[in-house]
Amino acid sequence: MDMIVTQGLCKTFKSKGKDKGTGKDAGVEAVRDVDLRVREGEIYGFLGPNGAGKTTTMRMLTTLMAPTRGTATVVGHDLFRESRRIRQDIGYVSQKGGAYEYASGYENLVLQGRLYGLTRAEARDKADRIVLQFDMADYARRIVQTYSGGQRRHVDLGMGVMHDPKLLFLDEPTTGLDPHSRARFWDVIRTLRREGITIFLTTHYLDEADQLCDALCIMDHGRVVAAGSPEELKREVSGDVVEIGLDPANVAQAAGLLEGMGGVCSLETTENSVKLLVESGETVLPAALPRLVQAGIAVARVEMKRPTLDEVFQKVTGRALTEAEIEAAAGGGGAGSGAGSGGGGWT
């Protein structure tokens, strides 16, 4: 069975306050024509820069807000008519978490279970098991206000699975965690999947999408711009990345020489290297290196890589994820602009 199927899902926010330039009330098209298909038992990643519309899509699918247009079924229930059934079958851990600060993690878990209709004994039983499984015993009885970021995320996740949902939504589950905590959190998520829970998560981290997800889609400015398994997506890019390490003083000159060479799809510079996205490394490199040598530029290092998700992102959106983030933070570009307030800028 498919856990999520959507067709032409759209969400337009009425913008508060009119557009300064035109005086028209345009609204923010946060999500445009999104078609998704999430299969049972997979970890599905939703990748995109700030303001792409990830949270908005998730809020629609979790019954928190009504779509402007489109159709969707979640765990086999119609999104428009069976929201109560959907709520019973899904768990949702929002970007902000949502634990009571002045209650302990354990109390938060038990209350959450009670609100899903568990008896007190059942709720305590399940909370005990989660405390063990998520390794929370050291802090579960302290109030949440005293928790570290990672500990909080564990409580949030625990609350999301108190009622044994079939489908779990996680909005940026690992944002703000250090690499070690992230890796541990991934393990917990994988365990949940082994128990049969389908997981739908959003992330900014390409490595997270690559290592954790069975399937993913890339969203940009409210649209899905690519979808498939990480391997499929990478194969689609079908180019190699060539990185040539240089003295920082020569980077600009080298970029000028290599730009527009046959077989080079795009070029990017870092402080001490030039990165080329090429159709085939074997043909471009032998031509590129002599050009640099002739211009008297010393080559410090040469590396060639198969594409990563970062390059996939770059190919489908025309810019790197980091650039997209900066652009969104500055309030520029497409869906990111025009929203007077809202969840776009701050994570």
Binding site: L64, Q88, Q95, G98, A99, A103
Partner: protein, 257 residues
């Protein structure tokens, strides 16, 4: 239905537990009554002794002061509860609760019943602290006053949550609450009886629901339980409770948009 009752009860207990954990809770609820009864009431005694309207028979001035004080505590004790809601909105708690199978009404009722409980405790404190000051009152009058206070809390507290759900920030919330609280306070005759006011002011105060509550509680404290002001204010407040809940529930339903 049964689930809605359990949901409400579970949340109510949870909020009470959190509340009681705070060491300031009891102090905070004691502070206002003590201040007014012991620092402000003595002033008023002299006002009424020098020819005020309330020096009726053997019943002392505390019987005319305490009712106004109670309504004031009810107003200020419940009007600002919305600040807690803003905190809950910001930290994602409301969103999380709205995805559970708990009913929207129970999300609201759990909080409102906590506020009612707090107010009842404060009401009890006022009664107890007023006794040494010469309060004369019967048991039915105490119960009737408490019931009236419950209705006030059931009106104002959901309204405060509704305002919070609309305002969504402390900065926007403050001015709105001040806008309501000042006229409600001044035009109710809580502190000084409106009999001292000029006609236009009295006419204006007829539009203030709290005026009827103050009138009713004054009647109850006089021992005049059959005064029409009493049943009138109960009827009015009952209507307002329904209106306030309907409004608040509506805001709760669309809370994330």
């Amino acid at each position: 239905m049964k689930k809605a009752v359990v949901d409400t009860w579970v949340q109510y207990l949870h909020y009470m537990k959190i509340e009681l954990r705070s060491p300031f809770w009891i102090l905070a609820s004691l502070f206002q009554p003590v201040c007014y009864l012991y620092l402000f009431a003595p002033l008023l005694k002299n006002v009424s002794d020098t020819g005020g309207a309330s020096a009726a028979g053997s019943i002392g001035s505390i019987n005319s002061f305490a009712p106004g004080l109670l309504v004031m505590i009810a107003l200020f004790g419940t009007l600002f509860v919305g600040y807690g809601m803003i905190d809950y909105l910001r930290s994602g708690i409301i969103e999380r609760l709205r995805v559970t199978t708990a009913s929207r009404l129970s999300l609201l009722l759990g909080l409102v019943l906590r506020d009612v409980t707090t107010l009842l405790v404060q009401t009890a404190i006022v009664f107890v602290l007023s006794l040494p000051l010469g309060l004369v009152i019967t048991a039915p009058a105490v119960l009737l006053t408490a019931a009236l206070m419950v209705l006030v809390a059931l009106t104002i507290s959901p309204a405060s949550y509704a305002i919070a759900l609309i305002a969504r920030s402390e900065d926007a919330m403050g001015p709105i609450l001040n806008f309501f609280s000042q006229p409600l306070l001044l035009l109710s005759g809580m502190l000084l009886p409106l009999t001292l006011a000029p006609l236009w002011l009295r006419t204006l105060s007829d539009a203030n629901p709290l005026k009827y509550v103050v009138d009713a509680s004054r009647a109850i404290f006089r021992g005049d339980l059959a005064d029409p002001a009493v049943w009138r204010s109960f009827a009015l407040m009952a209507v307002l409770v329904v209106v306030s809940f309907a409004w608040s529930l509506r805001q709760m339903r669309k809370a994330t948009e």
